[in-house]
Symmetry: C2
Subunit: 502 residues, 2 copies
């Protein structure tokens, strides 16, 4: 029995033993219980599951102080940020409740029997149904918004799937507390036992992904971690969908006009964004393209000043802190890379502190575009449009791409955003990518390596990852889901090709 | 230069040299041309692409006689079937035109800037956009409906992606003729050059999947072929989506009440379905579960009679014919498997004929549920509900699952369809799975091994495979796609969470 220990990242010291690592037999039992819970969770229906999600949100909020205190002690992210995260995760649960009540997400479609150019067509009725038990891997960097509670858990439960969550080793106590709150609230809401479950330990995570009854995996984490899980999935007799949010550079382009207009604000804004949360956001703007010349120099100077003033953040765990030291050294050693500014070096408390860094590169040497988790930004200068578009063409795909433009400027921003569209899931103008609003129109995904699918992991359409279509042909009405039976109904449907509102 | 030869499956003789295999350099040039065509194809807009699809359909129909004649000579499927396929593929092109004009498929979503519990939210606007050049692998068994023209080509073009098609070696002349018709029609419709392209040869197919500018692959074929392509994709620096329709057993359950009511009709219907097109349908009902006792005996007797009367079909190519002989012998050698009836053995013309077979198995010995391409059906008897549900639980996932029930019977069919839902994409009642209507509510997919994704390859939602979401944040109206600009519009949109019809 290996102990699961909670560590204080501010000191590096072990604070408590939370539990023991989940054994393979325990994983199997949890997955079997989740599979047994699936029919009952689906039978709650859309309204019942919306009430379940509301109850989960209420329960987390009722324990806000406890949850934030444990999470702060384990992650060092601070109560301000963690209170915001708790608010976000509760908002998200309730928003998926709205999605369920509105009902479009099931894509209910009815084609009545009829004649076609190919002869008679049977009665066909299609909607999306739950996949079955889903494995969710908590992320280190959002202990409340992408972990035991969070986007994947909310989306999978909303879809009607029991969830077994692999707790992240960076915040096991937070994970365990949240799991207990969710499980108790689910019971209170009338959901089956084992609607939510939790496992601890890397081996338990691997066993979870290999378990035959697990029908999909939601993962937010590193490219390396994601690839390891994908290899386990490939070895399953029945491979299953893997939804990975993996690695993202999030380039930012500052046009000459923008640099001329607001160098100081851009400089502090960019550094604020790439050092936010210790630079541990998947949407961290890792690379900034600045124009050559004095206006670009002014932005760079403002960035340098902000970095020199930046405090040394406490990173989430020893591995991330070591990874930051290793990768930042490697980046500084690349040809043509210089160090523009260095931030505060933290006191030596034994904690996982990191020194903010601003680097400048001459072009894009091999290795420069690798995601660096931590408070490091890289600037590359461009001299004219040809150089700019050559740089854009060499960028990897990202979750986001940002254009800062001059007031009313559209020509260059239009060309840049068109060039970046194939490589980014979200295109921002005159903002910073680190904020990811939870809403109907959000998209958080992009081509490889930012994600490995065409789906989002933030926003209402994240639910679709955990659903699959089924068509019923010539089914008697008694055997159809209520959403597909003829007659008045509470959700939008497509009837014989025509979208009909309730 | 390796010749690409067209073979007559009725004689096994080479009839003509169609072309030479496409070289790696030629593949690269075709892919580069397709990438160059992408912006122009997207710029046609939804209306322009709908007109393009109509023009493609018109052009295929204008050459109906030539196309059917070549396809019949190359596939042996007969003019009746092939005329039906051509009608289907033209219907499908025009139906995707309707999808484009209706516009829901882009999922246009607008969240105006506003306040939320997490603070101010920016303006976010999301829709689906084309992926870029798509590789489509023609299937052997539907030379017109799932090959150069067909579901994947129609869906990818409708979505706005240029298509490069790997011709199936079973019908290279049909493929080449159709490719020429499509290319000429695309030009006539004002689409860019290289909107469609074609390659011949296995090596060219592998090079196509590896080409960096190819952004997705549509494949209908064998599990082995699909896995080989997936391995190529894994080795790409940037893996891309692979949409494979692979292998399917398509179980059919006959309830005791159905057997008692209509044994003769069930027997001839089942054999008609599993021998249709030489048993080379992905929806072929490969396994039938019949009740023990005299009513089940009567269905089996009717099946045996129909098989004895069945003609020996000509299969599509030498590999399929050899595969059928090998796998049918292996199935006949499994423990507890007996041969119930044998159909006509074809004359020895040198052609790829196959002898229809009906086998009975005692339970489900290992290996019995492998898909057998060709005119072979397997029957397994069940004695009571416990035995039935144990058999259902042991079945692999399929594209379809069928329940034949007695008049008005719902209890057992309901329990069976619920048990089968996790393992099938389409659940049929009192019909045969081989027909797959092209419509809004169709779904042709299922868990592994029937497909490897949650998408369909038949019906209007097949378009979604070749699209990805992009969100614009705080974009000036001039830089937004027209579908996302405020004001009156010709398509359904979700505005601030509310679905609004035009």
């Amino acid at each position: 029995m290996t102990d699961v220990v909670s560590i204080d990242p501010r000191t590096g010291a072990a604070v408590e033993t939370v539990t023991t690592e989940t054994t393979p037999d325990q994983v199997d039992a949890l997955v079997a219980a989740a599979a047994a819970a699936a029919p009952g969770l689906e039978a709650l229906g859309r309204t019942g599951r919306a009430e379940l999600l509301d109850t989960l949100a209420d329960a987390l909020e009722a324990r806000r102080e406890d949850v934030v205190a444990v999470a702060d002690r384990e992650t060092g992210l601070g109560p301000g940020r963690l209170n915001g995260e708790l608010t976000r995760t509760c908002f998200q649960l309730r928003l998926f409740g709205e999605v369920l009540r509105e009902g479009s997400y099931v894509e209910a479609t009815v084609d009545h029997a009829g004649d076609t150019p190919m002869g008679p067509r049977p009665d066909l009725r299609r909607m999306l149904v739950p996949l079955g038990p889903v494995a969710v891997f908590g992320a280190s960097n959002f202990p409340l918004a992408f972990s035991v509670p969070g986007g994947d858990t909310a989306a999978a439960l909303a879809a009607g799937n029991p969830v077994v969550i692999k707790a992240h080793g960076s915040h096991p106590a937070t994970s365990q507390l949240c799991a207990e709150i969710l499980a108790a609230a689910a019971t209170k809401a009338g959901a089956p036992d084992a609607t939510t479950g939790i496992v601890h330990g890397l081996a338990a995570g691997a066993a979870l992904v290999a378990a035959p009854q697990i029908r999909a995996v939601g993962f937010t984490g590193s490219l390396t971690g994601g690839k390891a899980l994908m290899e386990i999935i490939e070895r399953r007799p029945e491979p299953i969908p893997f939804f990975g949010e993996l690695a993202s550079l999030n380039p930012v382009l500052v046009t000459p006009a923008a640099a001329a207009e607001r160098a100081a604000a851009l400089g502090t804004g960019l550094v604020g964004s790439f050092t936010l949360g210790g630079g541990q956001f998947c949407t961290k703007p890792g690379l900034t393209l600045l124009p050559a010349g004095p206006d670009g120099d002014a932005v760079l100077d403002a960035m340098a000043g902000a970095v020199r003033d930046a405090a040394a953040p406490v990173l989430l765990n020893a591995g991330i802190a070591q990874g930051y030291r290793t990768l930042s050294e490697r980046l500084r050693g690349l040809p043509g890379v210089t160090t523009v500014a260095t931030g505060t070096t933290g006191e030596d408390t034994g904690g996982f502190t990191a020194t903010p860094l601003l680097l400048a590169a001459n072009g894009l040497p091999d290795g420069l575009t690798e995601e660096c988790f931590g408070p490091l930004g890289v600037v590359v200068r461009y001299d004219g449009a040809d150089e700019l578009f050559a740089l854009l063409a060499a960028l990897p795909s990202s979750l986001t791409a940002t254009v800062h433009r001059g007031t009313g400027e559209t020509e260059l921003p239009g060309a840049v955003s068109a060039a970046l569209r194939p490589r980014a899931g979200r295109i921002l103008f005159d903002g910073f990518p680190t904020g990811v609003a939870v809403s109907w129109a959000q998209h958080h995904g992009g081509p490889w390596p930012s994600t490995n699918t065409q789906h989002t992991s933030v926003g209402t359409t994240a639910i679709r990852r955990f659903l699959r279509p089924v068509t019923w042909q010539d089914a008697p009405a008694e055997l159809l889901p209520t959403e597909l039976v003829d007659g008045p109904i509470d959700l939008p449907r497509r009837i014989d090709g025509v979208l009909v509102l309730p």
